[in-house]
């Protein structure tokens, strides 16, 4: 402040830095599980962060390596435990790829439809908790109201709600129950309105805008460099979606758009996810109207012994590119299984995103990354 009294603000001179180290998590209401973030604060400003993970490590990959291929599926219910269907799809398709099995179209349509339901459910959970972190508690309960409907559909088809063991290698456990498609149609007819409802509470809300605009901005280049995928990447305007880039299941048959953000801030990621829900609904509607008939199982060997080799297959999970890398030695259980968990990689961005923001923004940014610790720690 050596210049004249109305001169420019010199940040360093006005206020002094006193650093305080504070632990956010593992037992914190908004770190979404047992993430521990060590924040170095100057007042309310974040100078540095350190993520400490591993509180939920269960050794999923190692367990699966000691099980027959078919018995591995339920373990992947529990990695990203709010998107079990997507996880199952990735693993099942990977094993099918290893075996060279071609699944019937009806199975592919059902799988695609359920995966899109799962995407909506996962995004709803994200929306609810993200909004709750920023203080809008009502959105949380609205979102859970619709998520409940999806879980009911899961229960009808798979017999469970959360950890559902959705798909079997080579097909499905059972065909669609009577009236299931009607229930799906009822849901998909109303979800659009409900999404409008959430948007009514948030999208143009001044406080919401102030809390999310220009918070946690990441440029397209940085996002690519960090290996981000999913809505976090697309929020920065990079058009990469596994469903379009390397279509799997029945995605090639459907008409849908990939929403993209512009600024790469929290608000854009919010908009991208909201629009993704609408697009998922579009896919669901196409699935319902064009649902083919036919068998629900492919001719897969009873004892699964894939040929020797390395295989990688990835799907677009709700949170990003979810890849499975499996090495087979030709035995009944895999030699090595490695998951490419999207949120583990997305979480890397946290350090970069929060630097210079306030404590309250840390919460918003953790929310916008949409992390699930089950998947990060595996």
């Amino acid at each position: 402040m050596e210049h004249d009294i109305f001169g420019a603000i010199d940040e360093k001179t006005v206020l002094d830095a006193n650093q305080v180290v504070i632990n956010m998590g593992p037992q914190h209401p908004s770190t979404h599980g047992v993430l521990r973030v060590k924040l170095t604060l100057d007042g309310e400003r974040v100078i540095d962060t350190d993520c400490i993970i591993g509180y939920l490590h269960r050794g999923t990959e190692k367990i699966v390596e000691n099980r027959p291929y078919a018995a591995g599926v339920p373990y992947f219910d529990r990695t990203d435990y709010v998107a079990a269907v997507s996880n199952n799809l990735g693993y099942v398709e990977c094993v099918e790829k290893m075996l060279g099995v071609e699944v019937p179209p009806r199975v592919q349509y059902i799988r695609t439809m359920m995966t899109e339901f799962q995407r909506i459910a996962s995004h709803l959970l994200w929306l609810g908790t993200h909004a709750l972190d920023i203080g809008a508690m009502t959105v949380f309960l609205y979102a859970f109201r619709e998520r409940e409907e999806i879980l009911k559909l899961f229960e009808a088809l798979f017999g469970a709600r959360l950890t559902i063991h959705a798909f079997r290698i080579g097909g499905l456990w059972q065909d669609l129950p009577v009236g299931f498609l009607d229930a799906c149609r009822r849901f998909s007819d109303t979800i659009g309105e409900h999404i409008n409802e959430y948007e009514g509470l948030l999208t143009n809300n001044r406080i919401w805008l102030e809390r999310t605009r220009d918070i946690g901005v990441i440029s397209a280049q940085d996002a690519i460099d960090l290996g981000l995928t999913g809505p976090v990447l697309r929020g920065s305007g990079v058009n990469y979606d596994v469903r379009k880039a390397r279509p799997y299941s029945a995605y090639a048959d459907f008409d849908f758009d990939i929403p993209l953000g512009v600024h790469g801030d929290t608000y854009d990621r919010y908009l991208v996810r909201i629009e993704e829900m609408r697009q998922s609904n579009r896919i669901i509607q196409q699935c319902i109207t064009r649902m083919p008939t036919g068998p629900i199982r492919a001719k897969a060997p009873r004892v699964i012994k894939p040929p020797v080799g390395e295989y990688y297959h990835s799907v677009e999970g709700p949170k990003g590119e979810l890849g499975y890398y499996i090495v087979s030695e030709g035995k009944t259980s895999p030699y090595r299984v490695r998951i490419r968990p999207p949120t583990f990689i997305n979480l890397q961005a946290l350090k970069k995103l929060v630097k210079g923001h306030l404590v309250a923004d840390v919460v918003a940014i953790i929310g916008t990354l949409d992390i699930v610790l089950g998947e990060i720690d595996r």
Partner: protein, 118 residues
């Protein structure tokens, strides 16, 4: 009318007795089973890093100072507002000068960025 303050004293006594009675009654009813982990300061389930009585940002202090200054300003406004009808134009100009002088300081701190939290 000094007596009209007596009820306030009574109210004060009643209001103070409420938490005292509550705490005393609770002491008879509630369990008491402390152990080390329970009595540790909360820091999200891990051992605290360093001492909590660190020094915190000076920004809070600036806010408090500005508050005290403006608080004193309001105490001059209270009698002024009550008397306003009597003081009329004279009072208006008087207070205008008073507030304008303080406005200089307000604009200064605004320009200096003391009101920014950044």
């Amino acid at each position: 009318m000094l007596v009209s303050y007596v009820p306030i004293i009574i109210f004060l006594v009643v209001a103070i007795s409420l938490p005292v009675v509550g705490l005393a009654a609770g002491r008879l009813l509630r369990p008491f089973n402390p152990f080390k982990e329970k009595l540790m300061p909360y820091e999200c389930g891990v051992d605290p890093e360093g001492d909590a009585r660190e020094r915190y940002s000076v920004r809070y202090y600036i806010i408090a100072i500005l508050f005290v200054v403006f608080d004193v300003e309001t105490i001059f406004l209270f009698p002024w507002a009550v008397l306003y009808r009597k003081l009329a134009l004279f009072g208006f100009i008087e207070m205008l000068i008073f507030i304008l002088i303080l406005m200089v300081g307000y604009i200064y701190i605004w320009k200096k960025g003391a009101l920014e939290w950044v």
